[in-house]
């Protein structure tokens, strides 16, 4: 739908249900290498479930997900990550017991086998990458602080940093700017724009100001189905989208901000 060539990721007719509740309903979606794409939709639309399904936390009842030509249905979670998918969770999933630098080191290491980890000395390239990412996320001076000591916004940054450090071909960012100040959110948007080309990125967010800054195509999910695609402006003018949000005025982030 987004790109007609050979896509990096294609979600094909995926249906997911929890105890009779259909979270994703025959959903199809494709993403080209290096493309940034935004998913929006009201609460419960299935955005997070879609990311869960791509990363292997939730398995589709029917349909399949193909990444770089691999059918992900029977691949364990860690192996999906090794294929080149990395995800930032809605609640930051940083490793609390490790320092900031160690967090990034765990993320940056490409050979993730247990035996390798015994004698792994970080390579020069990995060390440079960690330093680069530390500079990008602005935590270079606190590199030896424990992740547990970081304030919420900083944890968000650290996890974004880990996702970037993993150098995965597909980055999944679940509400990357949640809880950030206006300035921080702007910086995050800049960072995500800079990732385009090198990584394909799927961003989930509610905040339309933030989405606008990403300058990327937007898809709207509603009740487990794709409701609309287009640029931010097109989505803003789309009457179906408005109906979905205006039908739930309390959650109407789209029109409001």
């Amino acid at each position: 739908m987004i790109d007609s060539g050979s896509p990096l990721l294609s979600v094909e007719h995926v249906t997911v249900s929890f105890d009779g509740y259909t979270a994703l309903d025959d959903l199809s979606f494709a993403l080209a290498s290096g493309a940034v794409h935004v998913l929006i939709g009201p609460n419960g639309a299935g955005k997070s479930t879609l990311l869960d399904t791509i990363i292997g936390r939730v398995r589709p009842a029917s349909g399949r997900i193909v990444f770089k030509g691999n059918d992900l249905r029977a691949v364990p979670e860690y192996a999906i990550v090794r294929l080149g998918v990395c995800r930032k969770f809605q609640t930051p999933g940083v490793l609390d017991a490790l320092t900031i630098e160690e967090n990034l080191r765990v993320a940056v290491t490409q050979n993730r086998g247990a035996w390798h980890a015994f004698r792994a000395k970080p390579t020069a390239a990995e060390r440079t990458r960690v330093d680069e990412v530390l500079a990008i996320i602005g935590l270079a001076e606190r590199r030896n602080a424990l992740a547990a000591e970081l304030a919420h916004g900083m944890r968000q940054w650290l996890e974004i940093g880990m996702v970037v450090a993993s150098d995965a071909d597909l980055l999944l960012l679940d509400e990357p700017a949640a809880g950030m100040t206006h300035g921080e959110a702007e910086a995050t948007a800049r960072l995500i724009r800079s990732l385009a080309g090198r990584h394909a990125v799927i961003v989930i967010d509610h905040d339309m100001d933030f989405v606008e800054q990403l300058d990327a195509p937007v898809s709207v999910l509603n009740m487990g189905r794709m409701l609309a695609h287009g640029s931010v402006d097109e989505i803003r003018r789309n009457p179906d989208v408005a109906a979905v949000y205006l039908g739930r005025p309390r959650e109407g982030d789209v029109a409001g901000r």
Partner: protein
């Protein structure tokens, strides 16, 4: 950092010189408790770093002990005869699986490899299906129960409740000889030092960091592309090996290995050594082992009935009041005394 290293070296020298200044009885206790500290460092690795609580480390301790004891038993028997307890049970030919233990190198290798393999197999089978830590703890306790009842019942092969004892010499050295005692003590101190350095290096490696992360949340690690299973299995196997080594050393030291030394109750007591010292600290594991065991020796000689009350109270108190053990208490005392000095307030975050 250098001061800390220097301190450790000084402690090592002091320990190595203990035969010069400690009375024989205290020295033999110290040697035995240091051997147990090897096992405790294994518990610190799996529990403090990996978050895996095992209530069955005694089983691996026992496997190491029996491997060495079987050799000592064969070496002490008359040439061509089966060990005494087998004769008492009416067994006149040596079971085939006893035979290779006649070779000292085989017995020593077996004391390391058998516990390690058994631990790896158990951890693989249980952790493969992502069960919770409490389940694993219960399974390991059931293992300790099953292993001891099994060994007791197979008297003609294992010596039953009395275990294996009555050795005269070990690897060519007379067991009663003071020089043998000293030699064994120094071997033990050496193994403690090597284990300490090796486990600390492991904890500092990427392996140790990932293991620590696994403790706090397996899924986070999984979604960074690491499979937690081999990390847990390898760590548990290492702890199994260390328990086996401790079992072999203690068997040599005491001249006996029996089910009463590694059943359900001794196995869970091993955890309390580490809890008392501080589960997150390798040094704490050693300190805790020494304190609890010297304490046990003292209390059970002065007030025999009191020991179980004390150990029970220690379990409750250490978990509720000082979950980070003695080392944790000392650290918080030190930071508190640091706070008394005027310090520049840390920069505000955000």
């Amino acid at each position: 950092m250098i001061r800390r290293e220097l301190g450790l070296v000084l402690v090592l020298v002091a320990a190595a010189c203990a035969p010069l200044y400690l009375p024989a009885y205290e020295l033999s206790l110290l040697g035995r408790f240091l051997a147990l500290a090897v096992l405790a460092m294994g518990i610190s690795l799996i529990w403090g770093t990996g978050g895996i609580l095992s209530l069955g480390q005694g089983v691996f301790f026992g496997l190491g002990g029996y491997a060495v004891a079987m050799h000592l038993k064969l070496a002490s028997a008359d040439p061509g005869a089966v060990p005494d307890f087998m004769q008492w049970s009416g067994l006149n030919t040596l079971p085939w699986w006893w035979t290779p233990f006649g070779n000292p190198a085989f017995a020593i290798a077996a004391a390391v490899i058998i516990p390690g393999t058994a631990a790896a197999a158990l951890a693989y089978l249980v952790f493969r299906r992502r069960v919770t830590g409490s389940y694993f703890a219960i399974i390991t306790q059931a293992l300790a129960l099953a292993a001891t009842t099994f060994i007791i019942s197979q008297q003609q092969y294992t010596g039953g409740f009395n275990g294996l004892t009555g050795f005269t010499s070990a690897f060519g050295f007379a067991l009663g000889d003071q020089r043998t005692q000293f030699g064994l003590y120094w071997v033990t101190v050496g193994i403690v030092a090597v284990t300490f350095v090796a486990v600390r290096a492991l904890q500092g490696s990427l392996f140790g960091k990932v293991l620590l992360a696994v403790r706090d949340g397996e899924n986070r690690v999984r979604f960074l592309g690491y499979d937690p299973l081999p990390f847990k299995v390898i760590a548990f196997a290492i702890a199994g090996v260390l328990a086996g080594v401790a079992g072999a050393l203690v068997t040599l030291d005491l001249g006996v290995i029996s089910p009463a030394m590694f059943g359900v109750v001794p196995s869970i007591e091993m955890v309390i050594w580490v809890a008392v010292g501080g589960r997150n600290s390798l040094l704490g594991a050693i300190v805790g082992t020494l304190i609890v065991n010297f304490g046990k020796d003292w209390i059970s000689s002065v007030f025999p009935d009191l020991w179980l009350h004390v150990v029970g109270a220690v379990f409750v108190l250490v978990v509720t009041v000082a979950p980070r053990g003695i080392v944790g208490l000392m650290q918080s005392v030190r930071t508190r005394s640091l706070r008394l000095r005027p310090v520049t307030p840390p920069a505000l975050v955000e």
